[in-house]
């Protein structure tokens, strides 16, 4: 009898332990599940940042005055005016989208800045330079190809011919 009671008590104890373990496993799974969700959410944010097309859509609602103010963080008034005179409004907006996309994806190379190039013989405007300060010659070659591929994918093939990715360290080192 006593043995029987001891067995039952032991079984109840085991059931309790199992139940607690199950609860722990479930709660840990929930934690893992939450971590996974946060991770996946971050990944999708990163994917969003990497997609130029998405950035172009996001900036498509900006007005001209909003764009000009936004450009002022990256270059001066004289250059903004030259851009306005040499690009259509849609191109001007796409340039800003590209600037944001580059700033998000190549932030480790320093702050992206804008400059322009003229033909030294004719003084005509040639292209807009997106200057990445801290990348060397080898990185420059890779980045330029990546950027132009992304521009083509996002429907900016024509604009790609008026945009130069310039790594100053790669040019002068």
């Amino acid at each position: 009898m006593w043995v029987q009671q001891e067995r039952e008590s032991s079984n109840i104890e085991i059931q309790k332990i199992l139940s607690e373990s199950a609860k722990n496993i479930l709660s840990e799974t929930k934690v893992i599940s939450n971590v996974y969700e946060v991770f996946m959410s971050s990944v999708s944010d990163v994917i969003k940042l990497k997609n130029l097309y998405t950035v172009l859509n996001e900036v498509s609602l900006l007005s001209e005055s909003e764009l000009i103010n936004a450009f002022k963080l990256y270059t001066n008034d004289a250059i903004i005016n030259i851009l306005k005179n040499n690009f259509t409004f849609n191109e001007f907006r796409s340039l800003y989208g590209l600037l944001i996309w580059l700033s998000n994806n190549y932030a480790s190379y320093g702050k992206i800045m804008l400059d322009i190039s003229f033909d030294p013989e004719t003084n005509d405007f040639q292209f807009v330079n997106f200057v990445i300060p801290d990348c060397d010659w080898n990185a420059w070659r890779v980045i330029a190809r990546e950027v132009k591929t992304e521009m083509r994918k996002s429907g900016l093939s024509e604009l790609a011919s008026k945009v130069a990715i310039v790594c100053l360290r790669g040019l002068t080192e």
């Binding site: 270059t75 001066n76 004289a78 250059i79 320093g110 702050k111 800045m113 804008l114 400059d115 322009i116 190039s117 003229f118 033909d119 030294p120 013989e121 004719t122 005509d124 040639q126 292209f127 200057v131 300060p133 010659w137 420059w140 070659r141 330029a144 190809r145 950027v147 132009k148 591929t149 093939s157 790609a160 011919s161 008026k162 945009v163 130069a164 990715i165 310039v166 790594c167 100053l168 360290r169 790669g170 040019l171 002068t172």
Partner: protein, 146 residues
């Protein structure tokens, strides 16, 4: 004078660039005038080759034979292909050696913030053997892609 595709073959700069590369490797002392003229020659050899390629594709330029293209058209076509590093180094070096006499040459920068952020030293281009080798390397990449 042969036309079309023959002009592409005649103006293909592969042989001259290989010769320049060998010469640069074998020559111990390269004076500045030598480096300047070689960089200029490489730029124009590539420019002529690109123009011949355009002409053979049916693209027409200006002049009596419609065979004159602009540097801007040349640069933009290469930028479109993602050859930014190669054409920018070629273009900046060509401008430095043909239009400026100082060494290092200053790179024209209109955004003062860039000069302030990087300092004058990082915005000047030294005309030396190292940059000539880079120009040779860039020109070989361009020829491959054209």
């Amino acid at each position: 004078m042969p036309a079309g595709i023959d002009r592409v073959n005649v103006l293909n700069p592969t042989a001259i660039i290989t010769s320049i590369e060998k010469m640069v490797m074998s020559k111990k002392d390269l004076d500045e005038i030598f480096i300047r003229r070689l960089i200029s020659a490489i730029y124009f050899a590539i420019f002529n080759y690109w123009a011949a390629k355009q002409f053979s594709k049916g693209v027409r330029g200006k002049g009596p034979n419609q065979d004159s293209f602009t540097f801007s058209e040349f640069h933009r076509d290469l930028l479109k292909m993602g050859l930014d590093a190669e054409i920018i180094i070629l273009f900046q070096c060509r401008v430095a050696v043909d239009h400026y006499i100082m060494n290092p040459a200053s790179i024209n920068i209109y955004n003062q913030e860039i000069v302030n952020a990087l300092g004058m030293q990082k915005t000047s281009l030294a005309i030396n053997r190292k940059i000539l080798n880079r120009v040779i390397s860039a020109s070989k990449s361009i020829i491959k892609s054209l």
